[in-house]
Amino acid sequence: MIALLEGIVRGLGVGSVYALLALGFVIIYKATRVISFAQPALMLAGVVLVSHLAGPLGFWVALPLAALLTAVLALGIERGAVRPMVGRPAFVVAIITLGVDVAIRVVVNIFIGLDVRNVHDPWGLDSWRIGALQVQQRHVAAFLATALLVAALFAFFRFTRMGLAMRAAADDQEAALAQGVSVGAVFALSWALAGALAAVGGTFATAGVSFDGNLWLTALVALPVIILGGLDSLPGAVLGGLGVGVAQELVATYQNDMPWLGGNVSVITPYVLMLLVLLVRPYGLFGTREVERV
């Protein structure tokens, strides 16, 4: 029972990271109908920034500053590489983001250097003990930070003019344009938000561990998360992320009792879960059902 509860807590921590990363993908997809494959590179850039800034400025200044700078970088990508492609097939733009991802990672790798790096987070591997239950602080921190950011995001979309504009543009771009919504600003803001979320998500993914250039692979777990949550659903990204995190940790906890499953099966859990969900709900748990006339 203790192992189960500890697994759930760890899963919520890990799942929070997936949720933040998945939110970035979904926000860009909702605004532009493109899956941005540049998210892994943005995450890596954000984490590298935190690792460099946390030394002189401290973690609490470094994290928001790095999120801001990553948002600016994402904005730059949107203006430089994506905006000129407006009107082209979404597939073409997605492939461009793939190229951008590789290019940014090559540059960011230079700033990683030859040693592994740390984000100097305040939690490290410290734990709290609640009775027999051991809870790692980094997992609680990731969950709380995600809860806070998700609440802020939902408030932004619900209560601000820009949030309303973004929802309108996501709903029907031409109608929004006709109503005076600046769709360009919506594109830009969605990329900036995704960049900042990637930086924060990546930082919590590396809390308590070290990282090297391979960190970008972590962001790819967000892909099954967004598919099973629903490509265009923000609640889907959050719940999908948390669900995948918990499922993954529970499988990791118990996979040794089931050797017939094969080695390290927890790694493929997100993909298996995605397949199972798609069998029942082809548009994901919360995705919009698309009706196409044939």
Partner: protein
């Protein structure tokens, strides 16, 4: 139809003749036979413009692959090594260039084959081919074209390949020595290998398995994947099975995630990681205290700060560099290539076939003390493979964060072991 057939014959003949032209041996002014990758013109960065040039290729993981942090210093050390060789007079009437044909293999077998084919017509041999899956992709071609290569990997499969001039004990032998050391020091009952799949991790795990059978330990092996977020399963296995000693084969960030993550949840067993599991910056990581308390490193040779003439020459040739054992490895891996070139030159045959013949004549390589006398016995085949390992402990004061607890030794298990096929096939 007849015309078509005769046309095809002409094309085939042209291709065949063109192919042969690359391997036509010529004899240089000094009477040394040469073919591909050796020119009478000086090297681009020649020390002595009177000398010809031997071109060696480097295929390494230089930009975006997973072993970049090791590959870049390995490559830098090799550039410095050959610069020193040239400054000391080169190889006979030639100097050696390793800068013109450096290519990024991205640790990807397809990319490796592509860039290898690109540089193959211009190089005599490969000063570096990094990674076992990548080298496996070009090995058949290397064998059919007599292209000798220094690998940047330690799989036991290389003991069976004439064209590969490996240095140091392979992972399989290294794990055997690590467990001989552990048997004396920690008297374990249960041993676990936590490792990546493929012939890096599988080779070490196989060595641990074979040694465990010999030493009477209960053995289990747990495969894991690259990525700090993918170690939860390995940590779970450690906590549920509670081994006394764990042999680790993975990258440094992953190793720290396993050691730190397991220790944070109360694991108290010992870890011995193969050399790529260590990085000095891990001392500053959250896993630093756990690594200091529980981790030791097995390695094929002494680290950066070791006191031998070869280590000193390396440090002198790389001024201002932050110490890294990537440099040590790159430097050591170059000695057999130098020995093979010298042997081929003294045989009067610097052709590719001449290089391979020279390699088969090498029964010892002078590593300037970095490896002991007797290392580099390629004439001895698989049984001539070098079998010594060093065990180091975490030491914040040492240049690369580790200092030896047991200098190079050959344990009884490795000594008695008959290497008759690659170890990873026996896991």
């Amino acid at each position: 139809m007849k015309r078509l057939a005769s046309g095809a014959v002409v094309v085939l003949l042209a291709v065949a003749l063109g192919g042969c032209r690359g391997s036509d041996a010529e004899t240089g002014e000094s009477g040394v036979k040469v073919d591909v990758g050796v020119t009478s013109e000086p090297c681009p960065e020649a020390v002595n413009k009177e000398k010809g040039c031997i071109y060696l290729g480097i295929l390494s993981d230089l930009t975006e692959g997973p072993f970049r942090a090791l590959a870049v210093p390995i490559t830098d050390a090799q550039k410095a090594f050959w610069k020193r060789v040239n400054n000391n007079g080169g190889i006979g009437d030639y100097e050696v260039d390793v800068t013109k044909y450096i290519r990024d293999n991205k640790y990807n077998p397809q990319v490796t084959n592509q860039v290898y084919q690109e540089i193959k017509p211009n190089i005599l041999a490969l000063a570096q081919t990094l990674g076992s899956p990548t080298t496996a992709a070009i090995l058949p071609d290397m064998k059919s074209n007599n292209v000798v290569g220094s690998p940047a990997a330690w799989t036991s499969a290389y003991a069976f390949e004439d064209v590969i001039i490996e240095s140091g004990a392979n992972y399989c032998i290294e794990s055997m020595n690590a467990l001989d050391y552990a048997a004396e020091t920690y008297k374990p009952k249960k041993v676990m290998a936590v490792h990546l799949a493929g012939d890096y991790g599988d080779d070490a795990a196989a060595g641990a398995k074979l040694a465990s059978e010999k030493l009477g330990f209960t053995f289990s092996d747990v495969k894991t994947d690259t990525g700090t977020d993918k170690q939860a399963g390995a940590i779970g296995a450690l906590l549920s099975q509670q081994p006394d000693v764990v042999i680790l084969t993975m990258g440094p960030a992953d190793a720290a995630a396993v050691v730190g993550g397991a220790a944070a949840r109360g694991f108290k067993g010992r870890f011995i990681g193969t050399s790529p599991t260590w990085n000095p910056a891990l001392l500053q990581s959250p896993a630093g205290p756990a690594l200091t308390a529980l981790y030791e490193q097995s390695g094929p040779w002494g680290s950066w700060g070791t006191d031998t003439p070869g280590h000193k020459a390396m440090r002198d040739a790389l001024p201002g560099k932050t110490p890294s054992d990537g440099y040590t490895s790159g430097w050591i891996w170059s000695y057999p290539m130098k020995a093979a070139l010298e042997k081929a030159n003294s045989n009067g045959d610097l052709t590719r076939a001449g290089m391979l013949a020279a390699v088969k004549q090498l029964s010892s390589v002078d590593y300037e003390g970095m490896l002991p006398t007797g290392a580099g016995n390629y004439a001895g085949g698989a049984q001539g493979t070098f079998r010594q390992t060093q065990i180091s402990k975490v030491d914040a004061a040492a240049p690369t964060g580790v200092s030896p607890v047991r200098p190079l030794f050959e344990g009884p298990t490795a000594k008695a072991f008959t290497l008759d096929k690659p170890c990873f096939e026996q896991l």
